[in-house]
Symmetry: C2
Subunit: 338 residues, 2 copies
């Protein structure tokens, strides 16, 4: 009996036209997994009609009459849309009827509802959002990405624990290295909160590497990079902007003349393989960490391939004791303190 | 009589082997400009011997017996190396014998010495470091880049003024647009300092666009992006790391086989033109803003082309009333307040 993923099928820019095909493809590639599609029955039912027999019990439908929009303030989404597909998907996790929930909807609402319904794990003050990025050596996990803007040193320490346990669960590395995002040695080093967090991490029993800088994210210096949500969000969005600009420039240069267009055709296989290595769709699916349940946020504009990757990541996190790892680590840290 | 640039020839990873050829090339391409090479006479004299006659009075040498190293703490560099090439170059600006100073040395020391020797402009609490980055629409100026880690809303407002005046001086745009770096609308929006800074900028008389996100830097949404030094430094270093990784991946794909190597030769002109557009050497030379004198910081690892670009940018800033523009703007803002 494999993991069961509750899927908010109505969320994201494209809704069921992306989430349902992604779910079906996920079931095909994960023969042990189950999916519960959450959303408006009259919309979802016809989309799965032809596949229902094939997957039998592995594919279920859970009706939800409302939809959280990108514009809904988190408080409104939480209080007045109790039958939203987002809320119902998280309720399924709460009730133990699903092992993880995935949504491409409104991040603020997803965080607020997850926190309200699932509560935080013992020892965790604030849940965080983590992402995985490609690096020269493999992958780097970065957190927080925007859930927490004014962080204390204790919060950063907790992010370190959550990030390390995430990598342990998903990448099967027992002692992932953790770096604290800071600025160069040349100028005044970091602010007081970051300095204090460095002390806490050094004494945490984690495999703490020390300070890292922005470039270390893509150099792959450490497995986990810890920062506050403002800084993490800026780093991620800046990277997205730069990658996009580089793509546009490369395309423009190959479209400059008939000759360069012909060249592009020749090198297409190389360019395609290059593109695959930095394809952000491979890195879709940002875990909300620190909750008593596994919830992943997909990019709102995800296509079916990207959304399926988020589902696969959710299955991986749910089947490898992510929550237990975080709880155990927090407990042993607090024992040492006491 | 053109501008005179004082050049710290001993600073940076490569010292005179980079700075002196860059200075000579700068004099060739800027027939109105003058250069004062600052550093150890016995080192510099032989390097310019063959060119001295050609440039005559435009090329001078100012002896300085000491060198600030990358490891020197700013306070030590300032107090106990009073005859360093860095210090003497800035003294030349202070004394009016040069219009700008350029150094590839230790950023912290350069900032500390500049601030001590030159002092800040009226109304400016803290000098900032700005950089220019390529964007889909041209260039984006970002500040602060690491001089200031705990900023108040007032500091961010001053960065806005300094950045706008820098673009006015260097890019000849009279009302450059200014954006405040913040995080997405989905999550809790920004922190209190950023919110307050938004209010101040809105009432500043600047051409304030509003909040921008990380991706807007490379999309070219605004001319100037304002942020605190911690965030700016992380954004810049993260971009450097990503650009480097993309370069490595692209190279690896073209080196994969004999066939792909042959393809690389075919598309070389296209790849070269692409590379030129994102070449970070074109963007070298980060102005230290808010001082009573023009000082630019070159990347420590700059090669001669990159260092020459920093010299050219310094000449541009010094010849277009940068300091006067900042002072005037600050004065008119303070008058309105009074």
């Amino acid at each position: 009996m494999g993991v069961t993923i509750a899927i908010d099928c109505m969320g994201g820019d494209h809704g069921p036209s992306v989430t349902v095909p992604a779910a079906l493809s996920f079931l095909r590639s994960h023969p042990d997994a189950n999916a519960v599609l959450v959303g408006r029955e009259e919309v979802l039912r016809p989309l799965i009609a032809s596949e229902a027999a094939r997957f039998g019990d592995r594919l279920r439908l859970q009706p939800a009459s409302e939809v959280v929009t990108m514009e809904d303030p988190p408080a409104i989404a939480m209080r007045s849309k109790k039958d939203s597909s987002m809320r119902v998907a998280i309720d399924l996790v709460k009730d133990g009827r699903a092992d993880a929930a995935v949504s491409a909807g409104n991040t603020g609402a997803l965080m607020a509802i997850s926190r309200f319904v699932l509560k935080t794990l013992p020892g965790i003050d604030r849940p965080a959002i983590a992402t995985v990025l490609p690096s020269q050596k493999g992958h780097t996990y970065v957190l927080d990405l925007g859930a927490n803007v004014d962080c204390s040193a204790e919060h950063l320490l907790q992010f370190g624990v959550m990030g390390a346990m995430l990598v342990a669960a998903i990448e099967h590395k027992e002692r992932p290295s953790v770096g604290l995002l800071n600025i160069g040695e040349e100028v005044i080093k970091g602010n007081d909160v970051v300095k204090e967090a460095g002390e806490l991490l050094r004494n945490s029993g984690l495999n703490f590497y020390g300070n890292v800088e922005g470039n270390d994210i893509f150099e792959g210096t450490v497995d986990v990079v810890v920062c506050d949500g403002f800084v993490g969000n800026v780093a991620l969005k800046t990277s997205e902007g730069l990658a996009q600009m580089i793509g546009v420039f490369l395309k423009e240069e190959f479209k400059r003349s008939l000759l360069t267009r012909a060249m592009a055709v020749v090198v297409l296989p190389v360019l395609r393989r290059f593109k695959q290595r930095v394809d952000h769709r491979l890195y879709n699916g940002a875990p909300l960490l620190g909750l008593r349940g596994v919830v992943l946020k997909s990019h709102g504009s995800a296509d079916a391939l990207a959304f399926e990757n988020a589902l696969a990541r959710a299955a991986e996190a749910a089947s490898n004791r992510l929550l237990e790892r975080i709880s155990e680590r927090m407990a042993s840290m607090n024992e040492e303190k006491a």
